[in-house]
Symmetry: C2
Subunit: 310 residues, 2 copies
């Protein structure tokens, strides 16, 4: 079950991140595409600040590796992964705004509203979100238009009302923004996190199944795998908030605790959270079993996500 | 050339607005769709505040009537029009934010950040933008997936970097937000407005051509028609800002002048702007000529847009 050594996995993660970086640079160039009038240089500069030069590109990696499991390789899955990365980056830009989480630092650099200004940051987010769907609809992503519409619709659900945006809304509510603050139950925390951070990671894996036209059983498996890594990612993130430090993270540590946010770490304790992570990695192994050695990269990915220290 | 009397046109506009309202109410219900976890009630309430109970629904109307010109009728074009309306409404919510145009009133009611709060308004905009693409990708819009991906891609271009979002960026720059303020040339004003407000109206008409699988010549004609009504809409809007009053408009009048914004009215004068509107209506007539009486509603629409007083 450990056929892909961790250093091979790391090399692969780095390689896909490099390819994604190059593709994102091209997507965020200053030259207007057909159907665009002009690309305002300041907007492009701020969008590049928001997207380029950082991040593990975990979401593109999950799209690429999930698609590869079903034989879909090359530029199409990479481009779909970049669409998702644009959407992810928009969410960071908007979440960092003063009226939202009010963060000054992101990946060790000033957030967009700090490096530019608030209006620019709002527009950068709007433009990245729009671009994500523009990209997914391009023929380069997949020759079959049904595949592209499925990707658009699924990303709409994962990123929208009942997914990421709704999760951020629930998170602000949990902070006591709109009503009296109260402790969330464990199941409320799981729902919130499944929406706020889980939905996009799960979409990344589902997208691989869609791009590779996986059958019903395989689709269900990759979907479950996506839900598992989504949950593991969040628990690892919450552990980092407790155990990490600002310099390593490139963003403020201890913010959740300071905000009094309920996480699974507060609900389960640090020991309990580590045990939960182990259980999730074991479940990922079990879900991937039918795919044999082909799924070794995804197995290593689950371990990596559960054990990440940055 | 005047086969559709204006009272028939008004009845039609009202009828489509009513159908759009019903469809939008359904789209913004509290029940989660497949792929959504939960729809947070506060988010839905704020989205309904942003979208329902107001507006002429000019964009859905243009989609529906342009599609009808090519024989595409029924729920599909209406739904595509509602997707566009969601995107339009998101842009109003974000443009009204304190760090953007800082407006307290919209359609005679408090803006979303006034009725709710700023974080909610940002999320409402993000969710509406996401929903627009989700809707366009649904099979109900059109059975042919190529049509749906074309709609998504074109809306991405019209609404994004080189369209509406970029236009708002240029508008903020023209106000002197990021650099020393300077008077825009007439051609710079035309570019800015073609992006900020023109692109979505033009998309509305193009969408009709896409839904009705118009041939190349007809596509070019409806595209040109869309560009004309887009420009006419903006000039009429700028005239209203000068000639209208706050009570009739349901939003602050005289704002552009107060902000010292360059418009075609300042560039051409009030007389010149009215003459330009007449010329645009005449060009619309000429562009629609090949379609004969079938295009009478679109002819009346051009007149209506040029002459509107609210």
């Amino acid at each position: 079950m450990d056929a892909v050594p961790d250093h091979d996995f790391s090399r692969r993660l780095t390689a896909v991140a490099g390819e994604a970086e190059t593709a994102l640079e091209r997507l965020l160039g200053n030259d207007a595409l057909p159907g665009e009038v002009v690309r305002p240089p300041r907007l492009m500069e701020a969008m590049r600040h928001a997207v380029l030069g950082g991040g593990k590109r975990l979401r593109p990696f999950l799209v690429v590796e999930s698609a590869a499991l079903f034989g879909a390789t090359g530029h199409g899955p990479l481009l779909a992964g970049c669409a998702l990365e644009c959407l992810h980056c928009y969410s960071l830009v908007h979440d960092d705004l003063p009226s939202m989480d009010n963060d000054d630092l992101r990946r060790g650099r000033p957030t967009v509203h700090k490096a530019f200004d608030e209006a620019t940051a709002i527009l950068v987010g709007d433009a990245l979100l729009t671009l994500a769907f523009d990209i997914l609809a391009r023929e380069e992503v997949h020759p079959d238009a049904h595949v592209r519409t499925a990707l658009v619709r699924e990303l709409g659900r994962a990123g929208g009302i009942g997914g990421m945006v709704g999760g951020q809304m629930l998170d602000l509510a949990a902070e006591g923004r709109f009503e009296a603050k109260r402790a969330l139950s464990e199941s409320e925390i799981i729902t919130l996190q499944a929406m706020k951070t889980g939905a996009l990671l799960r979409f990344a894996c589902r997208a691989g199944g869609i791009l590779g036209k996986a059958d019903a059983a395989a689709s269900a498996a990759i979907d479950r795998y996506g839900a598992i890594v989504g949950q593991a990612f969040q628990i690892a993130d919450d552990l980092l908030d407790v155990e990490g430090d600002t310099a390593t993270l490139g963003k403020a540590a201890g913010k959740d605790a300071a905000a009094g946010k309920g996480t699974l770490v507060t609900a389960l304790g640090i020991e309990g959270a580590h045990a939960k992570l182990d259980a999730l990695v074991a479940e990922a192994e079990s879900v991937l079993k039918p795919f044999g050695a082909k799924a070794d990269v995804l197995r290593a990915t689950a371990r990596f996500i559960a054990n990440r220290r940055t």
